[in-house]
Amino acid sequence: MIWLIALGLLLLAFLGAPFFALIAAIALLGFNAQGYDLAIVAVEINRLGEMPVLVAIPLFTLAGYLLSESEAPKRLVRLTQALVGWLPGGLAIVALVASALFTALTGASGVTIVALGAVLFPALIQGRYSERFGLGLVTASGSLGLLFAPSLPLIIYGVVAQQLNTTPQVSVEDLFLAGIIPGLLMLLVLSVYAITQSPHIPPEQRRFDWRAARAAILDARWELPLPVLVLGGIYSGRIAPSEAAALTAVYVFLVTVVIRREIALKRLPQIVREAMMLVGGILLILGTAFALTNYLIDAEIPTQLFAWVQAHVHQKWLFLLALNLFLLFFGMLLEGYPAIVVLTPLVLPIATGYGMDPVHFGILFLANLQIGLFLAPLGMNLFIASYRFKRPVTEVIRASWPFFLLLFACALAITYIPWLSLVLLDR
């Protein structure tokens, strides 16, 4: 019977049933089997209105949408171009850094490909990089930045992990700190690769142009304080995530709507509506996932799962390798958020059972999921890039596989070297 239901739900998933309905269905069936009142599912969804950290999500998302609707992406590219564009591989590094910053702030990797890719791809081609390299880079760029504060996936993982009562407890602040070095590692590796792929730059262009840099800094004077304020505030521990979100949203609103007026008041309701639809999509999935997690805990399924895995997998490294492949596969199949909310309650208890730190697990979990986003043949970002740059998916896959292999190597390093994630924490 259980297998029949599972098969039915799997089929519905592939036919395009919304994730929230699938997750809710499992929770409803589970609680029903336990003989409980189904109102418990509603109690769990209602918890969306009880967690202070969740207020950050609509605020950050709104800021991200306002930024991507303004001219900020162009200014960001111009600025980084002026600062590092003169280095060999500089332009590509610009693209990587700008993408990472943008994804960290907006939390939606698809938005990075669509909003920034539009500026970066032509710039790379103009800078005489091969089309294949450019296409691969913009596709992969959607997977950078998810490990940096204040990325939404980090916050969501933190919220779900907190439901599971791990020792030590997981805090969003710790996750923000833990993501820094792994995130920089990914940036560094791709930057080195970009340098090896860079076209020959004539010596006369290899100069740092003070005037261009000054002009670009001046041009971006309103946007520049934002990352300093937010990242500086969060990483120094001066402001909590929910305050950072309020600060970001209000600041971005003032800059894009009031000061620069790049977003007309008339368009504002429409943009807010779009942003809040995304928020609703993500948070409803999170709410139903609370119910699913609660059912799993009530029925002690994580404990049983751990016992089963422990009986079959004796070495920790073998478990980690299986974990890598498992997460890549599900990162490819599910888009980021559903993967986080469904897999965390199942896999985190197993990982802590093998003695892993829940914060380290969170970082390796997201590192693997994020590159699964452009794993062939089904990764979401492959299709977004194909759609955005009007290239066949097969061509996008060919272009992005070197990036995939490099980031996979990084994900392995992040998995097997906990130090990378934990060194900045007081552990």
Binding site: F31, Y36, D37, A39, I40, V43, E44, N46, R47, E50, P52, Q162, Q163, L164, N165, T167, Q169, E173, G237, R238, I239, A240, E243, N294, I297, D298
Partner: protein
């Protein structure tokens, strides 16, 4: 099935699991207590809903979280009401049974009450006088009506935050003055951010384990008695270890560089006055019953005559 916010590995969980083992033995396996620690079942409101819906059979709460079920639990939380633990002990002998009885019509059975110790004011700023406290940003737990009224009476607007957000907020300076037991200040790692503690008990905190009346009624009378006895014994042991912890942790706080100041008698009197005004306002706003206040005052004067 019993939920609690207490984390795995805490004194609370150790004693509650011991209660579970005792109950299992004494009922020959007919009753097993299963615990969900660390807030996995959600905050107190969520847990109360789940008890009503039958998913859970009980929960262990701080007294402030149960005011909707029984208003009288607020009595130990009244500010600047108790002078020392001895007074509390004598008052509780009289009031604990009344509070347990007060749950009768709420659908809950209060299985046991245990003392968590005194709450003290602590701050990252100097707070030796009321004037100094007024100049700081004061934290009050979310939904804690007593605390909010007390600091309104002092003339210091408070910041309401969930317990879990206090550590970060101390770090960021969003709040400066907080209240907790000495044990709590260390367990939540607040001590590293604090500089001063006022050695004047603000209020007394108790933990209460309530069970769902309907679930309990399904057991045989012997099993019911065994369950209640097992929990009661565990809570009595907790009471003793909590008191011992409180003394030991003062030393830890001093080692963390926290200055423990004894307020001048004039200051202490001024604080007691704030307490008196708070109680008056609560009575006027219908937040505490006249009966329990009368019982409290009677018990206090009886304790004082000893």
């Amino acid at each position: 099935k019993i939920a609690t916010l207490a984390p795995e590995g805490s004194n609370w969980m150790r004693e509650m699991r011991a209660a579970g083992d005792a109950v299992k033995t004494s009922t020959e396996g007919r009753v097993e207590l299963k615990f969900f620690p660390g807030g996995v079942m959600g905050n107190s409101d969520t847990v109360l809903r789940k008890i009503k819906l039958g998913q859970l059979n009980g929960g262990a709460f701080a007294s402030t979280e149960l005011t909707t079920a029984n208003q009288d639990v607020a009595v130990y939380g009244l500010p600047f009401t108790f002078a020392n633990l001895e007074e509390v002990r004598r008052v509780r002998q009289v009031l604990d049974p009344k509070i347990k009885a007060g749950f009768e019509h709420s659908g809950f059975v209060a299985a046991a009450i245990t003392g968590g110790g005194f709450i003290y004011m602590m701050s990252s700023k100097p707070i030796a006088t009321q004037e100094q406290v007024r100049a700081t940003k004061v934290w009050v737990p979310e939904g804690d009506v007593v605390g909010r009224i007390a600091f309104e009476e002092l003339g210091a607007p408070s910041v309401q935050l969930a317990l879990g957000d206090v550590y970060t907020s101390l770090q960021t300076g969003l709040v400066e003055t907080v209240g907790n037991t000495t044990t709590g200040a260390i367990a939540f790692q607040w001590a590293t951010k604090l500089k001063m503690m006022v050695d004047l008990p603000v209020s007394y905190t108790v933990g209460i384990l309530v069970l769902d009346q309907k679930s309990l009624a399904k057991l045989t009378p012997e099993d019911q008695a065994a369950v209640l006895a097992g929990i009661e014994e565990a809570f009595a042991r907790l009471e003793i270890s909590n008191a011992a912890d409180d003394l030991a942790t003062r030393e830890t706080l001093r080692n963390e560089g926290i200055e423990i100041v004894v307020p001048a008698e004039s200051e202490a009197a001024a604080w007691r006055d704030v307490g008196r005004r708070t109680v008056e306002r609560m009575q006027k706003e219908g937040l505490i019953s006249a009966e329990i206040l009368a019982a409290l005052n009677q018990a206090k004067s009886a304790a004082g005559s000893h």
